[in-house]
Amino acid sequence: MVLEWIFGKAVHCEEEAVAEPVEEEAVEEAEAQEEEAEEEEPAVEVKLGTTPYDPRFTTTNQARHCYTRYNEFHKCAAEKGEDAEDCKFFQKAYRSMCPSIWLEKWNEERDAGTFAGRY
């Protein structure tokens, strides 16, 4: 519940309670419009969520977790294309796990063709 929290939901609930039952359809439409308007308001919609726990990496040191997710993404990208929907998960995962300085270094190595990974 909390994870999917978007602001304004509580307000909607109250409005729903106040609205007269006769104009249900009209109210619903108005609400839908309101929701759209509210969602558009912030330029970026922030949703809580991050790389899930991965039973492959049970140790305190998560360096391999980061590295594996980075490689998994590039494998996926090589097979299905950079923007494939299936690869989004890996991309989000490695971005959440890896420090930006590591990514910078690896991306440079990939550009230079000296990256140790296969993809």
Binding site: L3, P42, V46, N61, A63, R95, S100
Partner: protein
Amino acid sequence: MKLFREFLCDAAEPWQLGFQDPATPVMEGIIELHHDLMFILAFILAFVMWILGRTLYHFNAERNPVPYKITHGTLIEIVWTVTPSLILILIALPSFALLYSTEEMVDPAVTLKAVGHQWYWVYEYSDYNTSDDEGLAFESYMVAEDDLEPGQLRLLEVDNRVVLPVQTHIRVIITAADVLHSWAIPSLGVKCDAIPGRLNQVSLFIKREGIFYGQCSELCGVNHGFMPIVVESVPVDDYIQWVTNKLEE
């Protein structure tokens, strides 16, 4: 302002002897274990002192000119071997339970990366990144003594605090860019070394809102004492608002 510092902030106080108030289940566990151990410790101390006192009182040269010639006593030897082992097991069980619970990673909703530098911390919130190099990241420096506002804590306040949601499972990834550092906050029960090339993971579940102060806890150079850590825990809505504002900046 003094009241504010002593009641609302979770920082060390002058001449403090005990723990800071806990804000995570892990810290509550640590304090509980400490109290349990202190009970056993006090009991053993009293018992040993009693035996020692009695021995000195009753069995000295004045009272017993002729010494006893007993060299073995099977029963007493079994008792004084088995009893300490049982006490050690009694201590080990809750201790291991606590140790493993601190390692537990419960389905996290937020990942925070803390990167130690000489001599400041860099924090990255990359869950909301849209590319590899752009994202929510900032440096956190100590506020110098001359720049302190009234009520701010000397050597503990930073310019950019870490903001985290309460009642949420958080993963903290701790690493360093140059030398060893250590990310530690007493109230949250966290102390984790930041090691270049390693990504150390700890989990946090902050139970209440507040401002939690900590310091670098691994000698990292001349300004080791001047790279504090400040975590501000806020309601989830406020956290989302904060992240949104930061991303829009």
